[in-house]
Subunit: 114 residues, 2 copies
């Protein structure tokens, strides 16, 4: 078993104003799914996209919105859990003045960080 | 997709001083893994056990210890990520004076809440 401060995991520039850290993954021997933590600067957003695997997300800090395939927005706050099913178009945006931080889990095949 | 405040998920008494909430699971259509949130009162611990599936854990608040199969203790604080591989004996205990809260993900077959 291992214990690792999430802040010690290497940050990867993922998009403009978006940092990703893989905190538990295949390199640790994780056999099925991967834990990543995202930090979005105020105003930043993840790409609007869809893929054939799910996201399970928990908002840790900040304020944001979840944007669906029709552009509909759902507000997000800390301790909101988000389930995005396979093939659902989605994006997350920081709608507040502080960093929006969330943990996002995907099946192993959904994470391609080497 | 769905957004749900973790606090709205039904709490289940899991052990003495331990509450579990399934916040994303098979009933939501989650195909592979399940997000649960645990709250441990000061002094409470999860059962010392092992099973043939992994845990991926992120500590959200409080102070605790992770106890391994030999009784070794690793301190835990917020934003510590824990990977417990299949078949590793483990327990978590609240070693602080506030609630120890963590999110713990398992493969679907590891969660039996109906």
């Amino acid at each position: 078993m291992l214990v690792r401060s999430a802040g010690d995991a290497k940050g990867i520039a993922y998009a403009q104003g978006v940092q990703k850290r893989v905190v538990i993954g295949p390199r640790d021997g994780a056999p099925n799914f991967v834990m990543r933590i995202f930090d979005l600067e105020p105003g930043a957003n993840t790409a609007r996209h869809a893929h054939d695997f799910e996201h399970e997300v928990l908002v840790l800090s900040g304020r944001g919105v979840l944007i669906d395939g029709e552009g509909g927005e759902t507000p997000l706050q800390p301790m909101d859990a988000i389930f995005i099913a396979p093939d659902e178009t989605h994006s997350l945006r920081n709608a507040g003045s502080e960093t929006l931080q969330f943990v996002c889990l995907v099946p192993s095949r959904g994470e391609d960080t080497p």
